[in-house]
């Protein structure tokens, strides 16, 4: 009844979806799995109308349709239960359920609350949620809110003629085990009312719930199996299955690290809600990769070491000194440099030129009594522009106008010129073209050779494996497994994925 045929979606420089064939039949539960960046979320956005496909066809009951926005998709019976809460917390449950569709309860501008409450109760009964529809949404538990969202989507049943397709985006990520069981039971019962597309990075759950599973990789559907015949192992192979080129990641330049010089040490570090009991050491000349799915707690660990997030339990020791006050100033002062994922937001200051960006973290080195020595700043900038071969017209060029790779180099120059010897890389190659990526890998090796310790959150698993000496696999905020990755003895993708999901 709902079908995608050779659907394409292109963004500038990226072909996000490549000839996707996808089909869902009445009363079916279809699973969708893939690594981060495999194209799952883009595909979902096309389905529920947030993105418009620019190739192929979207068919409902054989007729081609096109959604300009989510509301149009809803009118055709396609609803989305969001991973991040999409209920307005200060409104009552019934108001949320009928938000934007209150007109049916309104006469002369006055809302008939009794009528709305009765209608809401009917919807809540569908999801077996026995609460007063007048309850303020913020007082509900996460599990209850999820059911309310489901009830909100199920109002489409009365509103549209055709069949319903409901997308569940990582619905279990905030739920406890029993709650997951309840949700699954409910979804199975609701098959009589709607078909479901279930997206999760927990493969076991997908195998349990779905009838059929689509596996995505690099914007393509690489496999399509019925879950009765599927095995977790096979799917995991399909999700990753790529060869790693040794030259690409400069493996021949990987040197052994200095095991005697510990730069950063975490002991039983815990930040409730993000990670717990994390212990590891980073040595001079080492690349330590944190591997895990989105939301596994990797970013929070990085931000804690830099000082942007405060630790609750445990200790962080930087170069032998226990960190007492967590702030970015303190982090920078002790030699930590942070290369953030949001390069244009947290990395460079657009509107400021190259030398201003490079010295931003260390203006005290270039000033006397608060007055800047601009000549020295420019000299340093010119020095690093040639060292890292930054393509900028001069040190006076606006960083906002540089290409992504060159912006990344400027951020790196900021930390390296200031003498930082602990570098935190958060998706350093995201959005860069291949040449720029290779430049980043070169720089990683060069920094290692200088005795710099690097903690890496890589864009892809291959990158993590190729670059690192040590890999920590993190799942749900805890270290699952530690791998050594000296050249020639690196773990395989499959080894990692096995512990990730």
């Amino acid at each position: 009844m709902f079908e995608l045929r050779k659907v394409e979606k292109n963004f500038p420089n990226v072909r996000a979806l490549k000839a996707i064939d996808f089909e869902i039949r009445r009363g079916e539960i279809v699973g969708l799995v893939g690594e981060n960046g495999a194209g799952k979320s883009t595909l979902m956005k096309v389905i529920y109308g947030a993105y418009q496909h620019d190739g192929g066809e979207v068919l409902i009951d054989g007729k081609a349709v096109r959604f300009e926005n989510p509301r149009q998709a809803m009118q055709k019976g396609i609803g989305m239960v969001f991973q991040e809460q999409s209920l307005i917390p200060n409104l009552s449950v019934m108001e949320n359920i009928f938000l934007g569709f209150e007109q049916q309860f309104v006469k002369l501008g006055v809302v008939n609350w009794k009528k709305m409450a009765a209608a809401a109760r009917y919807q809540l009964a569908k999801v077996k949620l026995d609460i007063d529809p007048k309850t303020i949404t913020s007082k509900l538990s996460f599990a209850q809110r999820q059911l309310v969202e489901l009830a909100k989507v199920l109002t489409l049943e009365e509103r549209v003629d055709g069949e319903l397709v409901i997308l569940l985006d990582e619905p279990t990520s905030v739920l406890a085990k029993e709650e997951v069981e309840l949700l699954f039971k409910l979804v199975r019962e609701l098959r009589s009312r709607a078909a479901f597309i279930f997206v999760s990075h927990r493969l076991d759950e997908v195998l349990e719930l779905a009838d059929r599973i689509y596996v995505m990789k690099d914007g393509e559907v690489v496999d399509h199996v019925s879950s009765a015949e599927a095995s977790a192992e096979n799917i995991q192979h399909k999700m990753v299955g790529r060869d790693i080129s040794k030259e690409y990641y400069r493996e021949e330049k990987q040197l052994a690290y200095d095991a005697d010089r510990v730069l950063v040490e975490l002991e039983k570090a815990t930040l409730p809600g993000h990670y717990q009991d994390i212990s590891f050491q980073l040595h001079a000349g080492e690349v330590l990769a944190l591997v895990g799915t989105e939301g596994s707690g990797r970013e929070a660990i990085l931000r804690t070491i830099f000082g942007l997030q405060k630790l609750v339990l445990g200790t962080v020791t930087i170069k032998g000194c226990k960190v007492e006050s967590f702030s970015a100033e303190a982090g920078v002062a002790s030699g930590v440099g942070y290369i953030p994922r949001e390069r244009k937001i947290e990395g460079i200051v657009g509107g400021m030129n190259v030398y201003e960006n490079i010295t931003l973290s260390q203006m005290s080195h270039y000033s006397r009594f608060g007055f800047l020595r601009i000549g020295d700043e420019k000299a340093t900038a010119r020095d690093w522009i040639s060292k890292l071969s930054i393509k900028a017209s001069s040190e006076l060029a606006d960083c906002g106008n540089l290409s992504g790779g060159n912006q990344q180099k400027v951020v790196l120059a900021k930390w390296r010129s200031g003498g930082s010897d602990i570098i935190l890389l958060d998706h350093p190659t995201r959005g860069l073209d291949i040449g720029a990526k290779e430049d980043v890998y070169e720089m990683v090796r060069a920094m290692n050779a200088d005795g710099v310790g690097i903690i890496l959150i890589a864009d892809t698993l291959e990158e993590a494996i190729g670059l690192s000496h040590t890999i920590l696999v993190i799942k749900d905020g805890a270290i699952q497994k530690r791998f050594e990755g000296s050249p020639g003895a690196k773990p395989s993708l499959f080894d990692l994925v096995h512990y990730m999901i």
Partner: protein, 313 residues
């Protein structure tokens, strides 16, 4: 040359166009002595606008400047009798202190700056009313001339206030272009998250920006008090609107990050020319308020960086 790069040049082009326009209406307008008088009249307002520039530059706003200036006219008059010339640094310090409080309330206590400065302005107003006993005070002419005679009068045909304003402009320009503080404020205005992630003490610098605004408002109040030889808690009323207009038409947008004190200089001149042209066009003074209100709306709408405000509340 596209519209975006042209935008940077709008302010001075507006100034030139306006000046020519008025000059055509009345060639006397373009006489040197008239232009000097024009610049002299705007000096006090310009000094206040200079201070506000620093706050707007970091994407905040200072609505307390007028109340602080009001308060300072009263305090300056009172202190003159006891402290003589030393009243000046004391007044400036008090202004900076009020600014610092605004900065603390808005940055540490996370109260939006327009409310924080409105509230601190209320406190300044109270202090002014309390200190003055709610009446106009007058400076002793002898004392005034002894301590602050250098503020009034002319040098080489130029009004002293204008020279003071010019010196302050240079000081502000040095702060903006040549100091760590200025660079930090620039980074905060253009990209606060990146400034934080570079380890800058963002909160401290923001508080200093408010303190600068308070200090400049105090200087404006002080000069005003000396000029009029007295103080009252309503003396500087009517300053706030044109001061903010001067900053915004100069090309420092409400969202901060671009523009700066030189822009405010041009903005203040635009305000001066508009005011004068209204006299030539026989527009009643009451209509000026309406006009400046509309100019303010237009200037905000033209300069604001909408990519920085995700939802416009």
């Amino acid at each position: 040359m596209n519209l975006h790069s042209l935008k940077k040049h709008f302010p001075w082009m507006t100034l030139v166009a306006l000046t020519l326009f008025v000059g055509i209406l009345d060639p006397n307008f373009l006489r040197l002595d008239n232009l000097i008088a024009l610049a002299g009249d705007i000096s006090t307002l310009f000094i206040m606008a200079l201070g506000i520039t620093f706050v707007i530059y970091i994407g905040s706003i200072d609505l307390s400047a007028q109340s602080v200036a009001n308060m300072i006219t009263v305090l300056a008059t009172l202190f003159l009798a006891q402290l003589g010339w030393f009243a000046a640094p004391v007044c400036i310090a008090i202004g900076a202190l009020f600014g610092l409080v605004s900065g603390y309330v808005s940055n540490r206590l996370k109260v939006p700056s327009f409310i924080a400065t409105l509230a601190v302005g209320g406190i300044a107003l109270s202090v002014g009313q309390y200190a003055s006993g709610q009446k106009a005070l007058y400076m002793d002419a002898g004392l005034r001339n002894e301590a602050f005679g250098w503020i009034i009068g002319t040098t080489a045909g130029l009004p002293r206030e204008m020279i003071i304003a010019f010196v302050l402009l240079v000081v502000a320009l040095i702060i903006e272009r040549r100091t760590v503080l200025g660079r930090a404020l620039q980074a905060i205005g253009a990209g606060e998250p990146a400034a934080i992630a570079s380890g800058l003490r963002v909160n401290r610098y923001k508080m200093i920006a408010f303190a600068i605004s308070g200090a400049f408002a105090a200087m404006a109040g002080l000069i005003f008090a000396v000029k009029l030889s007295g103080g009252s808690p309503v003396m500087a009323n009517g300053f706030l609107l044109p001061a903010i207009v001067a900053v915004l038409v100069g090309g420092t947008p409400l969202t901060g990050g671009v523009g700066g004190v030189l822009n405010t200089f041009i903005g203040a001149l635009i305000v001066a020319v508009i005011r004068t042209s209204m006299l030539y066009l026989n527009v009643p003074p009451t209509a000026q308020q309406i006009f400046f209100g509309l100019v303010l709306v237009g200037a905000i709408a033209l300069t604001i960086d909408r990519s920085k405000v995700r939802t416009v509340k």
